[in-house]
């Protein structure tokens, strides 16, 4: 089931690539690299969340940083 989810995510990215690739044209190498690298980051993060559903994320990080101030509003 988990692999199916990863497959699904991959499918979404394949669709995105097929939709976007023709529009990028041949000249814009930079755009292609950025498109690909953002996709890879997204794919990687998405698949990671499939296997480890609740890792501490950006919210926990920020919660940690702003905790002293946040305590003021704790009730």
């Amino acid at each position: 089931m988990k692999w199916a989810a990863v497959l699904g995510i991959t499918f979404i990215f394949v669709c995105m690539a097929l939709f976007e690739w023709p529009k990028l044209g041949r000249g814009s190498k930079k755009e292609k690299i950025i498109f690909l690298s953002l996709s890879v980051i997204g794919w990687f993060l998405g698949s990671m969340l499939v296997f480890f559903p609740n890792p501490p994320g950006p919210t926990e990080l920020m919660d940690g940083i702003f905790k002293p101030l946040g305590k003021l509003l704790e009730k």
Binding site: E31, I34, S39
Partner: protein
């Protein structure tokens, strides 16, 4: 310029209204009531100050660097490296915040209406629609908000009017029982919401009539304040102390409407208000992130990165919190300061540095 479309200041004001109000409508009354109790209607008034300040800062910065967005002029103000780092921080922040917003949307829809629908589908379909809007550019978002915002605001005011017969003004007494402090504490979270007006710093370069930006920005802040005061007043006059206990007090209030056993079960309208308002809100954040990212990477077009960024927002929406309680708790405590720091604190510092630089520049020019 990456974006070739132009919008008017009036459209900008219309776009910013749901950008604050749509999510503030559902979660904020409960958070405010926890601190301010019966004075909760005062809190949006204090909170609007931060909104006005943000509008002022973004307009002033835009005066110093017309044609440039927040990401671009932070490079000019702080220098190449520090500016790039700050730009990245902003972009990651907006990605994260947009993830949180999408999650709030998903939690509400799944929690109250579509209990068994997977959250991915709810969040994903919304993001897909927003991606299309972002693809269409700022003009598309501006025009859709011109259609959506008046309808949504009118519907909301009608809802409030229908509630009038069930309201009990006595619940608001005694006013300022414990002084001004509780209502002030209650205003911290809404002021974090109000500081989202910093998105104007991304859109101001795209204005046809940037001279009117300040005026319409202020009017937009005031309209949000007005709507929030009305929301808080009517919810508390209806629910009293229960406002604190409900997750979505406004939702409960609208469900309570019953006119002559006939006009009942109106929660579908809240849903409509919420979905269309959130659509504008997510699109605004999404658009600003994508545009900022394209500027940060100096791309020639922002469209290629719309879809990958959309997916990242979806992932971050998932990652934002394990459940609704921790999300609401985060937004009600540390999250408020997190938002205030990035949306109000850093821009204030940027403005000060820019202002000093400008003064030095003038002196130098004058000396020569």
């Amino acid at each position: 310029m990456i974006e070739k479309g132009k919008i008017s200041a009036f459209q900008l004001a219309l776009m910013m209204n749901p950008t604050i109000f749509a999510t503030a409508l559902l979660l904020v009354p409960a958070i405010t009531a926890k601190h301010a109790e019966q004075d909760l209607w005062l809190s949006p008034i204090w909170a609007a100050i931060s909104g006005l300040l943000t509008v002022y800062i973004s307009c002033k910065l835009n005066k110093f660097y017309p044609e440039k967005s927040l990401i671009q002029y932070s490079e000019q103000i702080l220098g190449k490296i520090a500016g790039k780092i700050l730009g990245l921080i902003f972009l990651l922040y907006f990605l994260h915040l947009n993830g949180i917003i999408v999650r709030e949307y998903g939690e509400f829809v799944v929690g109250t209406f579509l209990n068994t629908t997977p959250m991915n589908v709810v969040m994903g379909s919304m993001l897909l629609v927003c991606a299309l809007a972002v693809y269409g550019g700022i003009e598309a978002i501006g025009r859709s908000s011109q259609i959506i915002v008046p309808v949504v605001s009118l519907l909301f005011l009608v809802m409030t009017l229908l509630l009038v017969k069930d309201l009990d003004p006595k619940k608001l007494l005694p006013v300022m029982e414990n002084g001004i402090m509780p209502s002030f504490m209650g205003s911290i979270v809404p002021s974090a919401w109000f500081s989202e007006f910093i998105l104007m710093a991304f859109v101001l370069p795209l204005l046809k009539d940037s001279g009117k930006a300040m005026k319409w920005g202020v009017l937009s802040v005031l309209s949000v304040m007005f709507l929030l005061v009305i929301t808080n007043l009517s919810t508390y006059m209806l629910l009293g102390k229960l406002t604190i206990k409900d997750t979505y007090p406004v939702m409960v209030a609208v469900r309570y409407i019953s006119i002559a056993d006939f006009l009942e079960h109106l929660e579908a309208i809240v849903m409509a208000i919420w979905v269309s308002g959130t659509f504008i809100k997510i699109s605004m954040f999404y658009y600003s992130t994508v545009l900022g990212m394209a500027q940060w990477l100096s791309l020639s077009d922002y469209r290629p990165i719309v879809l990958p960024i959309g997916f990242l927002i979806l992932v971050l929406g998932h990652w934002a919190a394990p459940n609704l309680q921790s999300l609401a708790h985060f937004l009600g405590t540390s999250g408020a300061f997190y938002m205030l720091t990035l949306q109000l604190g850093i821009p204030v510092v940027l403005l000060c540095i820019a202002w000093i630089q400008q003064k030095f520049q003038q002196k130098k020019d004058g000396g020569q």
